[in-house]
């Protein structure tokens, strides 16, 4: 990896981590949505610096849509009154997860290979998606269809009950 890609990787990683931390701690949903969009921009930059241009484009579109969903007017808060101790236990669990994953990454004995793919890889990824792993693509498409139909049904039910 040349220096330009490496600098892009580090800048994008900083963007995504900063956005993710703001998503975790910002109180207002509008600013949280902006932070999630920034995190998505960083994730797309990471993918682009890893020679995954097609994945970067898909990630950018998906995360912008997620940010719009979470910052949009259809957002309703849903508070099940969780006890503060459980939230603190969850935060400690996240810290433990970070330590475990970082240790696994540091101690991992990875195989090194030369990458011959292009910078974007759209046609190659498309061939894998629609020829090599067509069933996985169909399964994800079916899941998206079910999710969108479910979300539409939920929104329609809410609209009728008003």
């Amino acid at each position: 990896m040349d220096s330009l890609h490496a600098i892009g990787f580090y800048v994008s990683a900083t963007l995504s981590m900063g956005g993710a931390l703001f998503v975790a701690f910002l109180p207002a949903r509008g600013t949280r949505g902006i932070a999630l969009a920034v995190a998505g921009l960083g994730l797309a930059g990471i993918a682009l610096s890893l020679s995954a241009g097609f994945a970067a484009a898909v990630i950018l579109v998906c995360y912008l849509a997620i940010a719009a969903l979470l910052a949009g007017p259809q957002y309703r808060s849903f508070d099940p009154l969780t006890h503060a101790a459980w939230r603190q236990a969850g935060a400690l669990g996240a810290a433990g997860l970070l330590a475990l994953l970082a240790y696994a990454a540091y101690r991992g004995d990875f195989v090194h290979a030369t990458f011959y793919g292009g910078a974007i890889g759209g046609s190659a990824v498309g061939r894998i998606l629609f020829a090599h792993d067509a069933m996985a693509s169909v399964a994800v498409a079916a899941m998206i269809l079910v999710a969108l139909v479910g979300a539409s049904a939920a929104w329609r039910t809410r609209g009728r009950s008003r």
């Binding site: 990630i59 849903f78 990458f115 998206i144």
Partner: protein
């Protein structure tokens, strides 16, 4: 004698894995820390994004003996799955949540 010059900036798989681990952990923190369940949903795409970074990193640096771009494919599928999950979650929370 020529001056050797500075070392070039580079990235390895371990660095990518560290970033992926941090994203997964921050996503878990966001999901656990938020009192509002709809806001906690925002942690799930961050965790999926971290997993996608790990897959794309393995595809870039370490995909020996298999199709090179399979990790990129999984990263694409994870991003789309995160979008579907959040859409469904926001829809259900909108039905059940405070109006």
């Amino acid at each position: 004698m020529a001056h050797p010059g500075p070392e070039p900036v580079t990235v390895g798989l371990v660095t990518v894995m560290f970033v992926a681990a941090a994203l997964v952990a921050v996503g878990a923190l966001a999901a656990a820390w938020r009192r509002d369940l709809t806001a906690a949903l925002a942690g799930i795409p961050l965790m999926f994004g971290g997993a996608g970074v790990a897959f794309a990193g393995v595809a870039r640096f370490s995909a020996a003996g298999g199709p090179e771009l399979i990790g990129q494919e999984v990263a694409v599928l994870l991003a789309v799955a995160a979008l579907a999950l959040v859409a469904l979650g926001v829809g259900i929370a909108g039905r059940e949540g405070a109006r």
